[in-house]
Amino acid sequence: MLAPRASNAGIKFWALAVTLLNFTLSIPLLTNFDKTTWKWQFAEYKAWISAWNINYALGIDGISILFVMLSALVGILCVLVSWNAVTTKIKEFYVAILFIEGAMIGVFCALDFFLFYIFWEAMLIPMYLLIGIWGGPGRLYATIKFFLFTLAGSLLMLVGIIILYLKSGGVFFIPELMSLSGSYPLKLQLLLWFAFFAAFAVKVPMLPVHTWLPDAHTEAPAAGSVILAAVLIKMGAYGFLRFSIPFFPEATKLLAVPMMVLSVAAIIYGAVICFAQTDMKRLIAYSSVSHMGFITLGIFALNTNGLEGGILQMINHGVVTGGLFLMIGIIYERTHSREIAYYGGIAQKVPVYAVFFLIFTLSAIGFPATNGFIGEFLVLLGGFTKNRTLGVLAATGVILGAGYMLGLYRRMFFQQLSDNVKALVDLNLRETLTLIPMFVLVFWIGLYPNVFLGFMHASVEHLIEQVSNGTGGMSLAQLLLER
């Protein structure tokens, strides 16, 4: 923020350097992670507002580590993809991106509920500015819609947080709240579950509060769409995993099947709507609704396969949809059109681009050898185990997914070469570099998923134990001892 405005290149390089450094610093988190325990690691703790027993407490466990890495990676890619695309208010743009990245990582690491809320809400300001200033033609409507929806859900969650704090005797520390989970009466659990549901359902987004997503994703600048799709919406599902399920086990067990029904509805509804889309960004946005349906289906199956599939699919979706939005951003920079009809047969002109797009498409469909397959398979296995009908219905979503994604690919890349795109230039070095990390991840997770699944085993087992028995978590003293 303090940099002089004139040196645009300086600002961009600084942003790139910061995001790269961030990512490099988070690699030790992966390598030194202890996969055998569900307990939180790399914990950091400082007293903050002692009047309310609020502390600056951070830590990661098997569930959050992958998201922290994803956020760091997405940060770099967003800086790269916006390199030439953003031409006005450059300094403010990169300030916003860096701020959002910080808040994202904060959300995943927060071990204090109040701190979590602060990071969760603090993201709204830069996102609002990101979509509203650098977005597409309909950005003003999209950004205020996004803001109001998210704010409404979040404030309801705030009331829930306050009630939880008071009922637990003044505890904001998340692991400790987990250990108290068994002691709440069912009515209270349901009430608080719905309060949190308001915030997380808007974020995911689940039907019927998903309507902000198509507008926000479509009108956001490329970097904004990537951040939204890859990380922000995962926070909703993360919220369910981290809070709703472990804190309120009885309520979760009661509501698991309705949540699965809602998820299947999202899968099928999102997929069907995709067929009618003429704007490619909107199509991918609705496909996000459908894919998040898979994720919540897996999560609320509440068995190992479902949970691990759901978490892995969160990473996958981040990689793939992030990749797809990156690609759309790249082509938009050249043609400034999001209409699918504008394109046609561009595989002849941009073959490298076509290959990348094909790989991401196949992953979105859930083609074997890509990460999408592993995630969707585990989710469907878990869902089917829990409820046969829903599992079958969800599987139809896979077919629909193939339908609209391959349809998109066909209309854009094959068929007649459209006049508009006769002069398309293929990917340059910066763009290729932007896409390579996602490309690699698609195959790495797809062919050797254990590397990633390995992080989650202990934490997922602990989570299932929490739901079945209502025990788990740890107190602050224990956490400090373990450090």
Binding site: K89, Y117, I118, I125, G132, F147, L148, V159, Y165
Partner: protein, 483 residues
Amino acid sequence: MNFQFPDLTPVLPEAFLVLGALLLLLIDLSIKNKNATAFISLVLLMVTGFTVYSTPSGVTFGGMFSVDAYSSFFKYIFILSAAMAILVSGRYLRWRNEEHGEYYTLILLSTAGMMIMASAADLITIYLGLELMALSTYVLAGFIRGEVKSNESALKYFLLGAFSSAFLLYGISLIYGLTGITRLNLVASAISESGLVDNPVLFMALLMFVVAFGFKVAAAPFHMWAPDVYEGAPTPVTAFMSVGPKAAGFAVMARVFLVALHSLQADWTTVLVPIAILTMAVGNIIALSQQNIKRMLAYSSIAHAGYALIGLITGTSAGISAMMNYLIIYAFMNIGAFSIVIILDKGRVPASSDRLDNFKGLAKTHPVPAFLMLIFMFSLTGIPPTAGFMGKFYLFMNAVEAGYTFVVLAAVFFSVISAYFYLRVVKFMYMEEPEEGEIPAASMSTAPVSITIVLAVTALAVLLIGVYPEALLAMAKNSALIF
């Protein structure tokens, strides 16, 4: 008859301020450059502040005047807001040829009146302080003699204010008639001892007080004067009025309702809850359609009074400390927002000066004021990491604890609505083009240093308290211990 000369030590700050203001009035006759008068008034305020700090707690004038941590907290708010109002006034008045020394005297006298109100332990003292404050403020509202709107605002304020003072006196006379006492704490014991709790006349007195104080803090349905008066008065006076008298009204309300009418808590809670909800509703909903920034901020002030009322409703010491904490945070936010309006002032062009449309494209033409306004708007909405959020959080927490979750839900609902009109300002500043032919008047480099100081102080306060609210919180809690 034994006549004891009252101990003047507790009254030292007020006495000093009044004498200083009167002396200033005389000295001003020989001063040509009114900046000197402003400077002297600031010095007087600083010395008064220091005197408040060093005055030990005590009671004087036969118990009518009580100095304690509670009154000191409010006195700091009054002195701070008066100082900030004086700092931003100079250029505004000069450009309208209305820079007279009496202005500063009136502000000082108004502040003295507020300070008397805060320390009042007797109904008559409350009336005394209230009248001193109100009469000074009436004149201040009409200070721009050449403008029709200013005259109108002064007249409206005076008529309605006099009317509400009459209500207050009627209420006081009823209490005196029933108990024969006007001392607050003695009234409380008189009511409980003589079994007056269910007396309908006492309830009438309660209602009279609600009307009178409701008018002073601009609570619905006694808020009608606020938009017109705020719009017509000179903007520095509006900034002063929106903070000082409001805080003074709350200070008095807490003392009267929690000390004198303690036995009637069920009654006044039943009356205040619908008033609080109505106030939040009116303030937030009507602000949505405003085209004038001062009117919009007036309705926002009304809404914030509603939030502060929640703290009063709880009737607990913690709730009152939440109210006090909110009032000082509100002081910073509001004066900051009005200071931005002042910095954009164009001088004697009344009709077009305060339109919301003037904010269009401000981020391009004047980035620093635009950014500061962004901070204030987000703080007024209550988004972390700003002070506005911390204030609201503390209020909500205490309200839920006291069992008023319903009121908190209403507050949350209206907060979401408020996001729309606060963000509308941000939208105009950052996402719209500057209007044709409108040359915004002031940039940070040509603005007087005094306004820059106020902006810096308020913005820093909003950001710092948002991140570290502990210090202020502890002070508020300590001050509310008398309840």
